[in-house]
């Protein structure tokens, strides 16, 4: 199999369409329409227009000179997706899918969100294109990301707090799928990560691939190493995919939470087993009976027990290395980047920064590392404040 070209909706063993029958016509309709717009010049021109004038593309590739000096080793570059409208890479995908939904004449858009970034990006794209949006969000996440809930409110998007299960991203996806089953005729489900049944993982990857394409153009050649954080894995696959045949070292960084040995983490590719969830075969954090485990991460956006099926495939194929960073390492990386560069990263992106700092030390000064800075950290400052307060207390 050629990498990235799914056969029957599968990447090797991974992916597929494990869905209730009611959704089959909807998924088939989506696939058919996606194939149409994929190579349609006028659709791509329209999308490019919004990406440039509404979202703010292309984003800069910034040489983080101060960080590079303080670490002492390979040159570290930041792909500044944090500068996009809404503050994260999510808008690349929501504009693409909302435009597609509009072409499909769907008026009602639903979405799930973890940290709230995808929910906000959905609400923005829908406002911009004259569509109505409703977003499911785990109750626990609505509490820890109140600011994003309010942003969605202001944008005219209805937010449903989900109180089932672990009350995080996984449960928000369950509830969005149930809504979709119930309103299948009128509703477009705008999934935010490279997960779910085919064709979502492929479609989201393609819309996010603008990240990797720009990096290649801006570096004038490929970098030695690219690093991105992985929850569902949309910013990572968008970074890696355009460089997949270029001999670049690619590293995905998962959330190790309180440590891989504690069981309180979200490091699916590092500690999971193959299984079926949310319409796809992939690696999952699960017990021996196949029950999905509750996960933990300081960043709501990575707090998910599954991972995109293409990452599962790339892991097994050995094309990408998947590492992890603990909450503590992430806070340190967050503080380091903020102090050295004056850039406050999202906690999700700080996972990638943390690993970049770790390996840059060991590399030669002529090496280059590009880190995808998937989002900005304004939404996380309360969490960081609380974490620091608690840790100061504990050390007394």
């Amino acid at each position: 199999m050629k990498i990235g070209m799914p056969k029957d909706g599968r990447f090797g063993d991974f992916g597929g369409k494990y869905i209730p029958e009611t959704l089959v016509p909807a998924v088939e309709e989506l696939e058919e329409n996606y194939q149409k717009i994929k190579n349609d010049k006028s659709f791509q021109n329209e999308l490019d227009y919004y990406l440039k004038n509404y979202a703010g593309r292309p984003t800069p590739l910034y040489f983080a000179e101060n960080l590079t000096k303080s670490v002492g080793g390979a040159k570290i570059y930041l792909k500044r997706e944090d500068l996009l409208h809404g503050g994260a890479h999510k808008i690349n995908n929501t504009l693409g899918q909302a435009l597609l939904a509009k072409k499909m004449k769907k008026k009602r858009i639903i979405a799930e969100t973890g940290a709230g970034q995808h929910g906000v990006a959905t609400a923005m794209a829908c406002s911009c294109l004259g569509l109505s949006s409703e977003v499911y969000m785990g109750y626990k996440d609505t509490v820890r990301q109140q600011q994003n809930v309010f942003r969605m409110d202001l944008l005219g998007c209805k937010v449903y707090p989900v109180k089932s299960g672990s009350q995080t991203l996984k449960d928000a996806i369950n509830e969005a799928i149930r809504d979709w089953i119930t309103n299948v005729d009128t509703t477009y489900y705008l999934l935010g990560s490279a997960v779910g049944p085919h064709p979502y993982p492929v479609m989201v990857r393609d819309f996010q691939s603008v990240i990797g394409k720009e990096i290649k153009k801006q570096m004038k050649n490929v970098p030695d190493t690219v690093i991105a954080c992985v929850g569902g894995g949309s910013n990572a696959i968008g970074t890696f995919y355009p460089m997949i045949d270029d001999g670049v070292e690619m590293i995905g960084v998962e959330a190790a939470g309180k440590g891989l040995k504690t069981g309180m983490h979200s490091a699916t590719l590092n500690a999971g087993k193959k299984g079926v969830l949310h319409g796809m075969m992939t690696y999952l954090l699960q017990d021996n009976d196949g029950q999905i485990k509750e996960t933990h991460s300081i960043s709501a956006g990575l707090d998910y027990p599954g991972v995109g099926p293409e990452h599962a495939f790339l892991k097994d194929a050995g094309n990408v290395k998947y590492k992890s960073a603990t909450d503590n390492e992430v806070i340190n990386a967050f503080l380091t980047l903020t102090k050295t560069e004056g850039i406050i990263p999202a906690l999700e992106s700080a996972h990638a920064i943390s690993h970049a700092i770790k390996i840059a030390k060991t590399r030669s000064k002529s090496d280059s590392i590009v880190v995808t800075l998937s989002g900005r950290g304004d939404k996380d400052i309360d969490i960081v404040k609380q974490y620091l307060r608690k840790n100061v207390k504990n050390s007394r």
Partner: protein, 267 residues
């Protein structure tokens, strides 16, 4: 022929349709499940669908979601489910169908899981998230172990798919009555009536058709029977009774309710 197919044949000769009763095992607790099963058998149900909980039941509405959560929180384990089925089998010969989600089977391996459930006395399987596209290995293992594979079809399933799904199904074909998740519904939609008529025409001669999702009252049962379905499946309504009845009265209440439903399946 399987126990489920035998049952449909037997009912046909008696001019009756099948009542299929769903319950969630381990809800409200492990010990009560056996007594609920006894209540269903005494009430005259024809087939029992035993739910095994999955942490993320995307096809289920609030009632079954809650029952799944309670069952898991009280320590539901697949090994305990196997022992429960063994106990049920000591008391009754009634056809037993397991309803759960794909990952529960996959975690143990399709083949190992199926030979185990067959050995304890399960006759068929329903997995609402198993699409025919992904079913190759699943079907192979089921066939090897003589387990019926009951697939679901929806009112929006086109005729080509309907035929394909009917070919992959044994025992009966599970028609979902509504666009939605499992749960108590108030009315029978026109699109449901059309879908039943169409399914009968397209695949009705080859396989029995059962209707489920939102079937809860003797009236519902009567209406669906008059539309020509071969079976009605009642689930969330049973769980609601279980939720709202004190343990001492539960078995009798289940028996009474099942009797009322069963009466409505006689033509």
């Amino acid at each position: 022929m399987s126990k489920i197919q035998d049952k449909f044949k037997e009912l046909k000769s008696k001019n009756e349709k099948a009542l299929i009763s769903y319950i969630m095992t381990g809800f409200p607790n492990e010990n009560t499940t056996l007594s609920i099963v006894r209540g269903l058998v005494r009430g005259g149900t024809d087939i029992i669908e035993l739910g095994f909980p999955f942490s993320d039941p995307i096809a289920d509405g609030p009632v079954i979601q809650n029952a799944s959560t309670v069952s898991l929180n009280k320590g539901a384990k697949i090994e305990k489910f196997f022992s429960l089925v063994k106990k049920i089998r000591k008391e009754t010969d009634i056809p037993l169908v397991l309803m759960t989600y794909t990952n529960v089977l996959y975690a143990r391996g399709y083949s190992a899981f199926m030979s185990k459930v067959k050995s304890v006395g399960i006759d068929g399987l329903i997995l609402p998230d198993m699409s025919i596209e992904e079913s190759k290995e699943y079907l192979k293992s089921a066939k090897k172990n003589n387990l019926d594979t009951i697939f679901l079809v929806s009112p929006n399933t086109n005729n080509d798919r309907l035929k394909k799904i009917a070919r992959a199904s044994t025992g009966f074909l599970y028609m979902v009555a509504v666009f939605g998740t499992t749960g108590v519904q108030t009315k029978i939609h026109k699109y449901t009536i059309d879908a039943i008529k169409n399914a009968k025409k397209i695949v009705g001669k080859k396989i029995s058709i059962g209707i489920g999702f939102g079937v809860s009252t003797p009236d519902d049962v009567k209406k669906y029977v008059s539309l020509g379905v071969d079976a009605v499946i009642v689930g969330s309504a049973n769980l609601k009774i279980i939720e709202n009845t004190p343990p001492s009265k539960l078995q009798r209440k289940i028996t009474e309710y099942t009797k009322k439903l069963k009466r409505s399946t006689r033509i």
